[in-house]
């Protein structure tokens, strides 16, 4: 398990305090934070989720010498607008490598299919870092909500001052505070999985408050969409034996 983050930002030499990703996402945005995360944990590599997909900053993928346009297993599948929405943010969306067995079929016992591990060195550090990053992105969305709603008016007061809006924001805040508390504790892989769902829930609550603006393809909803995509692609990357040597050791300890 990842050592609980200390009170100081500087962890052991060579390791970045994972809270850095939260700060970066909140202040600089989702994609710069993801660049930071990848460079710190997977320098020069293209970390893939357990299904073999990757969603990474285009520049990171190019630096690793991998074509940023997907030519993998799903490249000839019909696709919707999701990829171009992520692409417009500067993200490369990679399908599993072409030689990899797709796992579409459920297990005979009816449980969800567990993919063979295709992750490259991803592990609990990665998923925990991702959760911090997504939390920072969610907090940035909250900052934006406050600003946006303060500027919109109805019946003589700003939308921010409507009690229902205050209540909804407080609900989201409770979620985010709890998520941060759990992340600070150095959570296990299944706990991080749960946090990812919780972060998505918080984002959805905030997006509702932004009205149709949060549904525009070039607005804040696009970052939230990319954040959901990250959670989806790296779902289970921390606990399916896909971890690199470092994380595997820690996992055993």
């Amino acid at each position: 398990m990842t050592a609980p983050a200390g009170t100081e930002r500087q962890d052991a030499p060579g390791r970045t305090d994972p809270r850095t990703y939260r700060d970066a996402a909140r202040e600089d945005g989702l994609v710069p934070a993801l660049t930071l995360l990848t460079r710190a944990l997977e320098p020069g590599a293209v970390p893939r989720g357990p299904g073999g997909h990757a969603v990474l900053p285009r520049e990171v993928v190019e630096e690793a010498g991998v074509p940023a346009e997907s030519a993998g297993a799903g490249a000839d599948r019909p696709y919707g607008a999701g990829r171009s929405l992520a692409g417009a943010l500067g993200l490369a969306v990679l399908d599993p490598p072409a030689d990899r067995e797709p796992y579409a079929s459920p297990n005979p016992d009816g449980t969800a299919a567990q993919p063979p591990c295709a992750g490259t060195g991803t592990g609990t550090d990665w998923t925990t870092g991702l959760a911090w990053l997504r939390l920072g992105s969610s907090e940035a969305l909250r900052d934006l909500c406050l600003k946006w709603l303060a500027e919109r008016e109805s019946e003589g007061s700003s939308l921010l001052m409507k009690q229902m809006v205050k209540g909804a924001l407080a609900e989201v805040l409770i979620e985010q505070l709890e998520i941060a508390a759990v992340l600070e504790s150095g959570p296990s892989a299944p706990v991080v999985e749960r946090l990812q769902e919780q972060i998505t829930g918080a984002d959805r609550g905030l997006l509702r408050l932004l009205g149709a603006y949060g549904f525009t393809g070039d607005g804040p909803g696009r970052d939230a969409y990319a954040s959901e995509l990250l959670a989806d692609v790296y779902r289970g990357a921390g606990d399916r034996g896909c971890a690199g040597p470092d994380a595997a050791e820690e996992g055993a300890g």
Binding site: A81, S84, R204, F215, G217, G221, G236
Partner: protein
């Protein structure tokens, strides 16, 4: 758990349901490119929507329920195509409530010439939920007509519409005095520009600018009605009739995701099966509420509270079901199952159609307090 429907309506449901496969096949293409609808004008579902209203409802007096039944089935195929199709759409309902026979003739005459899109322009950049505070303005031209100025946003199909229903205030009237007019979009001063959206992209939501558009007297809706019935009163009736079908769109989206899981995953067992069945039960429950809401409005057009409940419930349901559906597949489900990814994006949009969730809840509260809802 599907409630019995009158004969003609059950047949209509089966007919519209039979188009789901074709709609689904085109769904991702339309998601990528909203203009792809132009190549699909011969599809039965699109033609049906384009011609709707010409023949009237199959079960007169039950038109809200009928729209609900149709909307659910078509949205189960593809909510994007349902909203992207030419035809009377929401403006048709507006005309049914507020239009004179001559205005309806003009409107349906235009639509009869060729597949024609219509739009319903209400929302403004600064004022979404606060409809009564809109700033688009109709200035009398001295001839019984008006000159229209204003800006609208998030208006479905506005950039390809031939006829636009536009809501505005008449200069010098009180705050809530909202009037609806019909605008020929070829007239000078009407300009619309598509906006990029995250979901329901087929509908090509647009911003509209109205710079001195001339509105002749005979395009002002409701002038043949008593003054009390012209403005907000009628507009509320229109929303009451439309809201159950928005709930039905959410139901259709939820069902599409739920059925996709069933088809792709085959037999489910254990906790997964329980989870799947519970989602199905939630969809059925929301449908029963939506049907009730439609019945209430069909019986009494001012009885809109159940519609608010149904719409608020179904919008959340669509988000929940589409999110859960992704969890039935492995990591990368959004990429491996692009249709589910699209449904999850589409589902989010329903929240804002015909009034955001908070507005529905406020309406419900007022109904509760006034003793108009929640009584046996």
């Amino acid at each position: 758990m599907i409630r019995e429907l009158p004969d003609g309506m059950a047949r209509l449901r089966d007919r519209t349901a039979s188009w789901a496969g074709e709609l689904r096949a085109g769904a991702l293409g339309l998601d990528r490119d909203p203009e792809a609808i132009r190549d699909r004008l011969e599809e039965p579902a699109v033609r049906f929507l384009a011609e709707l209203g010409g023949d009237g409802p199959v079960t007169p007096g039950r038109d809200t329920l009928e729209r609900v039944v149709v909307a659910e089935e078509l949205a189960r195929g593809d909510a994007g195509a349902l909203l992207a199709s030419p035809g009377p759409s929401m403006s048709g309902v507006l005309l049914a409530v507020l239009g004179s026979p001559e205005q309806r003739d003009w409107f349906y005459g235009r639509l009869g010439e060729r597949p024609t899109w219509t739009c319903f322009a209400l929302t403004e950049p600064e004022r979404g939920s606060a409809i009564g505070e809109m700033s688009s303005v109709l200035t009398p031209d001295g001839d019984g007509g008006y000159v229209l100025h204003g800006t609208k946003r998030y208006v479905g199909n506005a950039s390809r519409a031939g006829v636009a229903a536009v809501f505005a205030r008449v200069a010098g009237t009180e705050r809530l005095g909202v009037t609806a007019v019909l605008v020929d979009t070829a007239d000078p001063g009407y300009r619309a520009r598509p906006l990029p959206m995250l979901g329901l992209r087929g509908a090509q939501f647009s911003s509209v600018s109205l710079d001195g558009v001339r509105v002749p007297a005979d395009r002002v809706l409701g002038t043949h009605l008593s003054p009390a019935r012209r403005g907000m009163w009628s507009i509320v009736q229109v929303f009451n009739r439309l809201r159950p079908s928005v709930a039905a769109i959410a139901l259709g989206i939820a069902r599409a995701a739920h059925e996709y899981v069933g088809e792709q995953r085959g037999t489910l067992r254990g906790a997964e099966r329980e989870r799947y069945e519970e989602l199905g039960r939630r969809i059925d429950a929301a449908r029963l509420l939506t049907y009730r809401a439609a019945d209430a409005v069909d019986a009494r057009p001012s009885a809109g509270h159940l519609g608010s409940a149904a719409k608020a419930r179904a919008a959340v349901l669509a988000e929940d079901v589409t999110r859960s559906a992704l969890g039935f597949f492995g990591p990368g489900a959004r990429l491996d199952h692009p249709l589910l990814d699209k449904l999850a994006r589409d589902a989010r949009g329903v929240e804002f159609m015909e009034g955001a969730g908070n507005i529905q809840k406020l309406t419900l509260f007022h109904g509760l307090q006034a003793g108009k809802v929640g009584r046996p």
